[in-house]
């Protein structure tokens, strides 16, 4: 069990960081990116998205870069990028472990 909420990122959080690691975006663009990237598999709700953005900004994973009309644009920080890469490594390890387990099962 993680002691802090941000020790392990949820899927939604991971995709938000992924979206921002591809460049600065506003909330609507982040939602569109996730829809597009996952082919609609992961649908992120507005409340979820803006709670994540609020939490990330508080944790300094992202920062607001400019406001244009109704849109606020955010970019990922170094701390956020490290968190994203750490989570990516963890997920890769999970997949590698699963593949090894699957291989062992098949071989057995």
């Amino acid at each position: 069990m993680p002691k802090k909420a941000m020790d392990i990122l949820t899927e939604s959080m991971f995709y938000v960081l992924m979206a921002l690691s591809q460049g600065a975006k506003c909330g609507i663009d982040i939602a569109d990116y996730i829809d597009h990237r996952t082919f609609g598999r992961l649908q992120i709700g507005p409340a979820t998205l803006y709670t994540i953005l609020g939490k990330f900004e508080k944790e300094r994973f992202i920062q607001e870069v400019f406001v244009e009309g109704r849109k606020r644009t955010y970019q990922i920080t170094e701390k956020g990028h490290i968190a994203y890469l750490n989570e990516l490594a963890r997920l890769k390890q999970c997949v590698a472990d699963a593949a090894a387990a699957e291989g062992g099962y098949l071989n057995g």
Binding site: A5, T10, E11, S12, M13, C26, G27, I28, A31, L42, Q43, I44, G45, P46, A47, T48, L49, Y50, T51, I52, L53, G54, K55, E57, K58, E64, G69, R70, K71, R72
Partner: protein
């Protein structure tokens, strides 16, 4: 349930569950939509919700926890930012109103993309509300403790006797009620947070009717209590300002249960000074002190030993129990000690439970059984010799004759 119709078909309803009952409120609003009552934009004021009467239609409502601390989601006035509104509208959700720590959204689209798609993140948002409630509860308890602590160094019993013990008790009940309310809110949010973490969802079709009657009764009781406290406080204030119950000594024919200037020498020639505003008496009753007097006398008395002249102020309480009288004596003394020139004065041994005399104003404090009396004895002989000791002795004798309850 209260219902009022207006020309524009606006209907007002009292929510059947507390604000923090997210599941109950969402379910209730959705049920009302099925009856043709649609929550109006900004339709929440003074505990009531306003609805537009339309054709019955299925609608889903969602309560979203406000993230006050981030400053990201709002434009400073706790309403959702334009960007949040735009994205919500894109997925079929209309923002309606701020409701306590929540924003209410509505959607007529089925299925609409949920506002919350990640239960962990929703739990995180709810946790912010829970933390705010916890902090508010902690601060109010700290404030209450400080208040209680300070009141011990003020005059809680004397204030209760002056304002009225029922009013003070009702006010204390209100405070305790509010404290318990905050605790219940915190526990409910904690339960909801845990449910989200464990099951990953909340119930959007909760049976809100089960506890609706109890909630309404609680609200009505609380409102009655608030009104009662306001009325009693108003009465106490007006009574104090208008000097209600205070009468001139010239019109007072009773024999007070304490020593007055005339009692210093019953054979002397007594004459009241023509200062009617300072020759008054007030009698009143209270739960913890059934008999109370405020006595202000300004008189002269010609005796064989000389002329006594000056004012006498007495506060007399006959309490329900000797320990109440002793506590009141303590309150009087603590209050007197706040004076920069406070010092104890000599006082002979008296047959009472507690006796003390102090300056700057020559004041005698006597307690015997359930009677406590404080007298500021300004009057003296022409040569300036003080008479507080004689007054105290006579008063002690009178108390002995009244045979108050033993302490």
């Amino acid at each position: 349930m209260a219902e009022t119709k207006k020309k524009n078909h606006t209907v007002y309803r009292l929510p059947p569950c507390p604000i923090y009952d997210v599941e109950g409120t969402e379910s209730w609003l959705s049920d009302l939509a099925q009856e043709g009552l649609m929550l109006e934009k900004d339709g929440f004021f003074a505990g009531f919700m306003s609805f537009q009467r339309t054709a019955p239609r299925a609608a889903q409502y969602r309560l979203e926890a406000i993230q006050k601390l981030s400053g990201l989601l709002s434009d400073g006035d706790e309403t959702p930012s334009d960007e949040v509104l735009e994205l919500s509208e894109k997925y079929g959700w209309e923002y309606l109103v701020k409701y306590g720590d929540f924003h209410i959204y509505r959607s007529f689209d089925f299925p609409a993309r949920e506002l919350n798609t990640d239960p962990d993140v929703q739990a995180m948002a709810l946790n912010e509300v829970r933390k705010r409630q916890r902090n508010a509860a902690i601060w109010s308890v700290i404030y209450l403790i400080i208040l209680l602590f300070c009141s011990l160094y003020q005059q809680p019993l004397l204030s209760a006797i002056a304002i009225g013990t029922p009013c003070v008790l009702l006010f204390a009940t209100l405070i305790i009620w509010a404290e318990i309310g905050q605790l219940v809110t915190f526990l409910h949010l904690h339960k909801l947070h845990r449910k989200l973490k464990e099951t990953g969802s909340i119930d959007h079709k909760k049976d809100w009717k089960k506890k609706a009657a109890a909630h309404h009764v609680e609200k009505i009781l609380y409102l009655c209590l608030v009104i009662l406290v306001l009325i009693l406080t108003f009465q106490a204030c007006t009574s104090s300002v208008m000097d209600e119950g205070e009468i001139s000594l010239e019109d007072y024919s009773e024999d007070p249960p304490f020593v007055t200037i005339a009692d210093m020498d019953p054979t002397g020639k007594y004459s009241m000074q023509e200062l009617s505003y300072s020759n008054t008496v007030k009698e009143w009753s209270d739960w913890i002190a059934p008999s109370n007097y405020e006595w202000h006398e300004y008189a002269s008395l010609i005796t064989d030993d000389g002329t006594i002249s000056g004012p006498l102020s007495i506060t007399y309480h006959e309490t329900v129990h000797p320990w109440v009288a002793r506590l009141i004596a303590r309150e009087y003394l603590i209050d007197a000690q706040k004076s920069q020139h406070f010092h104890l004065m000599d006082l002979q041994e008296l047959d009472v439970d507690y006796a003390v005399a102090y300056a700057p104003s020559p004041t005698v404090l006597l307690q015997k059984g359930n009677i406590i009396i404080r007298a500021t004895v300004y009057f003296n002989y022409e040569d300036g010799s003080s008479l507080y000791q004689q007054w105290a002795e006579l008063m002690a004798q009178m108390l002995q004759q009244t045979k108050p309850e033993k302490s």
